[in-house]
């Protein structure tokens, strides 16, 4: 297989045109969304191609760090938008959780588990960090959505426990566990079936680019393990920080925050 050109994209677009046509013909009202998603994804990826081309000519730890900060910022913004019960400070809690957990596992990756030379080698570190952040984002938003849902819907049950001597942790234990599990479900599910049902995106990319399948699978293993631990760290962090914000040290609900999510 040779290099891809715009011709390949045009052919692929043909399928989209077909789908939109069917949707229009049957009155399924999906064509607008399909076209918007197509335009957005193509534009974003084209832009990414240019930005990365430029970035790869730069090098140095600071470039990496700035890009990382920026990506974490966008990831938190996206995660926050997916939470339906917004409240004061949600962004910062999300940002802190995504940033710190990715920073931790990201450093571990770049220095120890998949060491690069030099560690900040932009051509490799950025894609790696991108995968870590993307998955952390999914986990964090699902966990926050579930947790705030639980807090709002189970307020009475939690207060019943608190008023009979439960600590805040005892009163919320089961819903903390459930929220974290919800955030971990996508990554755990994909780990269960990886290689059996689908070949993951990164591995597909490596294979298409002509790398050996064994190398590609080793890479994929390392990445999955890192993604799993990042998801765990970030969902745990976001759940615990939010928990102590919503239930303060007097073992009661913070009235102002609760009012926002009820």
């Amino acid at each position: 297989m040779g290099e891809l050109t715009f011709i390949n994209i045009l052919y692929s677009l043909g399928l989209i045109v077909l789908c939109s046509g069917i949707s229009l013909f049957l009155g399924l009202a999906l064509e607008k969304k399909i076209i918007l998603a197509t335009v957005r994804s193509c534009l974003q990826l084209a832009l990414l191609g240019y930005v990365l081309t430029w970035l790869f000519t730069q090098n140095g730890p600071w470039v990496f760090f700035f890009v990382f900060m920026f990506m974490a910022l966008v990831a938190s913004q996206t995660a926050m938008k997916r939470v339906s019960r917004r409240h004061k400070g949600l962004f910062w809690v999300t940002y802190a959780s995504i940033f710190f957990s990715s920073f931790l596992t990201g450093s571990y990756t770049l220095f120890i588990s998949i060491p690069q030379d030099p560690w900040f080698d932009i051509t490799r570190s950025i894609p790696l960090i991108g995968m870590i952040l993307g998955n952390s984002l999914t986990g964090v938003s699902l966990t926050m959505d579930k947790l705030t849902d639980h807090l709002a819907l189970k307020k009475n049950e939690i207060e019943e426990s608190l008023s009979l001597g439960a600590t805040r942790f005892e009163a919320c234990r089961s819903l903390l566990v459930d929220s974290i599990q919800t955030g971990m479900t996508p990554i755990l599910n994909s780990m269960m079936v990886v290689g059996l049902v689908s070949i993951p995106g990164m591995m597909t990319g490596q294979l298409l680019a002509g790398n050996s399948p064994t190398q590609a699978s080793l890479y994929q293993m390392a990445i999955l393990l890192i993604i799993c631990s990042t998801s765990y760290l970030s969902t745990l962090m976001v759940a615990l920080i939010s928990f102590v914000r919503f239930l303060n040290s007097f073992h009661r609900f913070d009235g102002e925050l609760m009012e926002e999510i009820l």
Binding site: K154, E157, E159, S163, L164, G165, A166, T167, S249
Partner: protein, 216 residues
């Protein structure tokens, strides 16, 4: 032990007082009924007493120690607050009763099944009540269940917020008897039921309506 509240004030949005400068001391064996207009802040007063809601001024003492932060769960394991809402719990009655016995501070207490059965007898409930699922109970039965669960933990004090409001007269009287059986605990009891007060006490405290008082 005595429960003491000193100069409690709570404001709404820091603009108007819900209640202002309320003090109270209650000792083992005391029974205080509180009545007052709906929305006058009686519930928030009870919740302030067990620190389930915040208040802007004042202090709460349990014995001679001021209750704060870390002491709160221990204090609440001895002074129970029961709200008026039917419990949203999803499991069986027995499961519901067992929940608080798993809290660390209640570890020393054991669910006394004999006592539970005697309660059921006093309340004219059959033993299969324990196997029923809580969502299937009536509003009054759910309130009763909440009372049974609390009493099995032998609290030293009770803060009751209209605990019998959804019960019929028969059930109400039986619940009152059960609550008042043990004489050594104190009870602060909010109710709108005039007859209930007269049956059980000569006096009551009239909760002041303050909502109009605006902060300077």
């Amino acid at each position: 032990m005595n429960l003491k509240a000193l100069n409690l004030s709570k404001t709404f949005d820091e603009l108007e007082y819900i209640f202002k400068d309320l003090s109270l001391e209650i000792k083992a064996g005391d029974l205080i009924f509180i009545k007052g207009k709906s929305g006058s802040g009686k519930t928030l007063f009870l919740k302030s007493l067990c620190l389930l809601t915040d208040f802007q001024e004042g202090k709460i003492f349990w014995g001679d120690k001021e209750v704060d932060g870390a002491d709160v769960p221990h204090f609440r394991s001895e002074v129970h607050f029961l709200n008026q809402f039917p419990t949203p719990f999803q499991g069986t009655v027995l499961d519901y009763i067992k929940v608080p016995f798993s809290f660390n501070l209640n570890k020393k207490k054991h669910l006394d099944l004999e006592e539970l059965n005697s309660f059921l007898k006093d309340l004219h409930l059959k033993e299969d009540f324990l196997k029923k699922r809580v969502p299937h109970l009536s509003g009054g039965e759910k309130q009763l269940l909440k009372i049974i669960r609390s009493l099995l933990l032998h609290p030293k004090g009770l803060l009751l917020d209209e605990p019998t409001s959804s019960m019929d007269e028969e059930m109400k009287k039986r619940a009152e008897e059960l609550i008042l059986k043990k004489k050594e605990r104190f009870i602060i009891w909010v109710t709108h039921d005039e007859a209930q007060i007269q049956r059980n006490s000569k006096t009551f405290y009239h909760f002041p309506t303050l909502k109009s008082e605006v902060l300077a």
